[in-house]
């Protein structure tokens, strides 16, 4: 089974970046008003960084992420500038975990981690239905691998 991240994940990541930038901007804005107008440069830089992530990086990151579950293992590919592939053989898988922040819960998404001995492969937020399917598929592949 191969799946990509849903569009909702793109929206969630964008919301997180906006919230983060707002928190980071608070300090420079205050200092720009109270101390020196030159702090507006820092505000502008952070704003441009926010635009870069919203319009360029996040959509490409979500598009580049590919999750494949087979009888041999779990493969997660991602990356915009640096392409990364994480491979975990099925037999080395110990257990699976899901994580949900309040925002992700509202949008029906959860992050999934596959844990092995001293290793972990984490998939960013996918829909809960897809997460359940992945769990069932991994469990089925693991028992098939162990019996065969």
């Amino acid at each position: 089974m191969t799946c990509n991240l849903p569009y909702k994940t793109c929206t969630l990541l964008r919301i997180r970046v906006v919230l983060l930038i707002l928190v980071l901007e608070a300090g420079p804005v205050y200092m720009a008003i109270a101390l020196s107008k030159y702090f507006y440069i820092l505000v502008a830089v952070l704003g441009l960084l926010c635009l870069f992530f919203l319009c360029f990086y996040i959509p490409r990151f979500v598009k580049s992420t590919e999750i494949t579950v087979s009888n041999d293992g779990v493969v997660v590919k991602y990356g915009v500038f640096y392409k990364t592939e994480k491979i975990m053989p099925i037999l080395r898988l110990i257990f699976m975990e899901t994580y949900q922040t309040p925002l992700a819960r509202l949008m029906g998404l959860c992050a999934v981690s596959f844990l092995g001995a001293k290793s972990r492969v984490t998939i960013p937020e996918i829909s809960k239905t897809d997460a359940e399917k992945l769990f069932a598929l991994v469990k089925g592949s693991k028992s098939g691998e162990q019996n065969g």
């Binding site: 819960r105 844990l115 001995a117």
Partner: protein, 477 residues
């Protein structure tokens, strides 16, 4: 669909969530409340602190209520968290061990600490740790590990004392004892300087060749070692091992009760060790390495505190067949040249100690007796090192086949490591220029697990080792 069994956390689990706020929030708010009641006086930030505390308590209660442990369809599901909700699905066959511990402070509330460990997670830390009702913990344990153990082995107080003496260290006593003495001193209005002056007076009253500071250091070390021994003894008291051929249970403790359970199939290797103290009584201790054992005991669990080796093998060979298999060993040579090689380091250390002592006495003659004391202690350790090196020559050997058995000495402890060949993670072969000339090598075998037990065997014939590794693993080098 299989029926799900749900366990909730004990209410006392809330303490774990509030622990980090005790000194920064809970105590200041309590102090503010008491001040208001007694003196009708309120500090400026007390309102803010009270609101923060109320919010944290509300979140903690919500987290406590939403925590659950579910057993369904051969899976253990642990759900935790409120803001960041975590859900872990662990196949029961992948659980390495369960530890159930309690002490009098939580015993009165009918609670126990339960920790679940797998081969995953951070080394030395429990993977999942929570508090349950005692009766729930008993049901939980039975559902995961099946019927209770049938065969129980108890150990005499003397053997438990020996294990505790071996497990004790002055450093542990120092780390535990100093803050406790400091706290007690403050409560009794006895300052640390008064305690130190009492020790100094006592050490001055002891007539010996060595200066009073030597007596003081000795008194302190004996005292902290004694404290460490008492702590280890209270943890190991009533030590007993039980089994039903599928799992092993180890129970111990007087005030702090520990119960550890693991499947025999989770055991990676078996070590039979003999510490210097055990050597005096000619007994051994047996411990096993378990993948993902975790927690304060690290990756290893002691199964037998102290017993004769023959008896250990007799009792535990049915559970661990690796102990009983017949095998051929590769040993080092027993000639004078090899003995000289084993004694090389102890001789060098002896010369260095004597040299440094002589130089120090020449340059600082007023501290002659102190340096002599330090030299005597160091040479005693070095003599024992020389003795144990001779034992190392006598016993060290390696067998590589279906089972790997390595016998050697590791930091003054004589060790025999037994493990199936498949569980070996690494075989390291090192050759110094002298080894190359004599066609010998030093072999370290390491078990494939998070903390990896290992044994180094020295001066073995290199060609024979190559041949045996090729036969067992099909590797040519």
């Amino acid at each position: 669909m299989d029926k799900a069994t749900i366990f909730k956390a004990h209410p006392i689990y809330i303490y774990k969530m509030l622990k980090r706020f005790v000194f920064v929030l809970i105590l200041p708010v309590l102090k503010g409340a008491i001040q208001y009641i007694l003196y009708r006086r309120v500090s400026g930030v007390i309102l803010l602190e009270s609101i923060a505390l109320a919010a944290i308590i509300a979140l903690s209660v919500w987290r406590l209520l939403s925590f659950k442990v579910v057993l369904v369809s051969d899976n253990l599901i642990i759900e935790d968290g409120v803001v960041l909700r975590k859900r872990a699905v662990i196949p029961i066959e992948n659980i390495s061990s369960i530890a159930i511990t309690s002490h009098f402070a939580i015993d009165v509330f009918g609670a126990v600490n339960v920790s679940v460990n797998t081969e995953s997670g951070i080394y030395g830390r429990k993977d999942f740790s929570f508090k349950m009702y005692k009766k729930d913990a008993a049901v939980f344990e039975t559902m995961i590990y099946g019927s209770p153990s049938q065969v129980e082995i108890k150990f005499t107080p003397g053997k438990i004392a020996l294990l505790s003496a071996t497990a004790s260290a002055s450093l542990t006593g120092l780390i535990v004892g100093v803050p406790v003495i400091n706290r007690i001193g403050r409560l009794l209005n006895v300052g640390a300087d008064r305690i130190l002056s009492d020790i100094t007076e006592l050490s001055k009253s002891i007539k010996s060749y060595f200066p009073p500071i030597v007596n003081a250091i000795t008194i302190v070390f004996i005292a902290v070692y004694g404290l460490s021994f008492l702590i280890a003894l209270s943890r190991n008291m009533f030590f007993r091992t039980s089994t039903n051929n599928q799992k092993i249970e180890i129970k111990s403790g007087l005030y702090f009760k520990h119960k550890r359970i693991f499947k025999i199939s989770a055991v990676k290797d078996v070590c039979i060790d003999q510490t210097p103290l055990m050597r005096v009584f000619k007994i051994f201790t047996m411990r096993v390495g378990i993948g993902g054992y975790g927690g304060e005991n690290g990756e290893k669990s002691t199964i037998v505190p102290a017993m004769k080796k023959r008896k250990i093998k007799e009792i535990f060979s049915p559970l661990f067949p690796v102990l009983a298999e017949k095998r051929g060993f590769i040993y080092c040579k027993k000639d004078k040249l090899t003995r000289g090689r084993f004694l090389m380091l102890p001789n060098i250390y002896a010369l260095v100690i004597l040299g440094i002592t002589a130089l120090l006495i020449i340059f600082l003659p007023s501290f002659e007796r102190l340096f002599l004391f330090a030299a005597i202690v160091s040479l005693s350790f070095d003599s024992y090192y020389g003795y144990i090196s001779l034992i190392n020559q006598k016993i060290s050997g390696l067998s590589i086949g279906k089972t790997v058995v390595a016998k050697g000495v590791s930091r003054f402890t004589v060790r025999e490591l037994y493990t199936p060949a498949d569980n070996i993670g690494l075989i390291k072969i090192m050759r110094t220029p002298v080894d190359i000339a004599k066609n010998t090598c030093r072999v370290t075998v390491q078990v494939r697990s998070e903390s990896s037990d290992s044994v180094k065997v020295r001066f073995l014939p290199y060609d024979k080792i190559k041949e045996t590794i090729n036969e067992t693993y099909g590797i040519n080098f």
